[in-house]
Point group: C2
Chain length 167, copies 2
């Protein structure tokens, strides 16, 4: 009855879910982007239980999203910092924020504003773009096997015939 792990899924989304598919993890990441680096700062800003914070930080370090380093050599104070892989979650977080801004808070009630530092104008709505740059709706896209698709993935894909897309 062990909790099912998604590690064996031949699916990128499942792997991402394994890394950040958890409420506190998402908020810890947000804090990291805000510049939080120490255990106590995370705790103060999020109000999360120490045990849970400890667990999630460890998991993020294990997954290569954060790195833990002594704040000063020889002293057991630690600094958690985003790795390159961690910084690459930036579009994900922004997209999630924009979703809530639109569907939870609604236009005119957004708590935060993310801006281009240079011009101080808000960033664009994030979207999926075709090669020529125009934005695509889900209906205008389709899925195919990638180079790393295994037999199972291929089978799953043939069963979703074009007409099967219920979007």
């Amino acid at each position: 009855m062990t909790r099912t792990s998604l590690k064996e899924f031949n699916c990128s989304l499942a792997q991402a879910a394994e890394v950040i598919g958890d409420k506190w993890t998402l908020l810890i990441l947000r804090e990291a982007f805000f510049g939080t680096t120490s255990f106590s700062e995370f705790r103060k800003n999020l109000g999360v239980a120490k045990t849970v914070l400890s667990d999630r930080l460890q998991s993020l370090v294990d997954h290569g999203v954060l790195e833990r380093a002594p704040t000063r050599p020889g002293v057991d104070r630690y600094t958690y910092r985003l790795t390159a892989a961690g910084r690459d979650f930036f579009p994900t977080l922004i997209t999630l924020m924009q979703w809530s801004d639109k569907w939870v808070f609604g236009p005119g009630s957004e708590p935060f504003c993310v801006m281009d530092k240079e011009t101080m104008s808000p960033v664009q709505q994030v979207g999926v773009q075709a090669r020529d740059g125009h934005f695509l709706t889900p209906r205008e896209t389709t899925f195919g096997p990638g180079p790393g698709a295994n037999e199972e993935t291929r089978e799953a894909l043939v069963s979703l015939k074009p007409g099967n897309r219920a979007l």
Copy 2:
């Protein structure tokens, strides 16, 4: 000791986390985008426990991401379909997939490929763009209060001085 709810957080990310901050929910959403609409199909494709599936589908319906409708009138067979809000998670899911493609599977081992249906060429890497369309790294962005920022949010923002961004 009730599990802390994020509903009261004046933060878009927290609200999004409340809706999809769960592994199975993310995979259910993926399936919905693949065109899955029935309880048994979700179950077959994901291998998730019925109780958990039932719970997550209900939550997604409650949050307005999916809608449940009788498959045929008067018969208790149901069809789960993405709402407009649900379809708006498309960029989020694609961004997550692209993250794993890069950091978990690596180039050349991607299980799936998302394509523009018209040209059958892969979609672009999703990113955060400035008004003029150029892509922004986290370091090139900054946060400010939005129109819906409350006092707590404003206070949290002043404490993150420019130099405080540890990116």
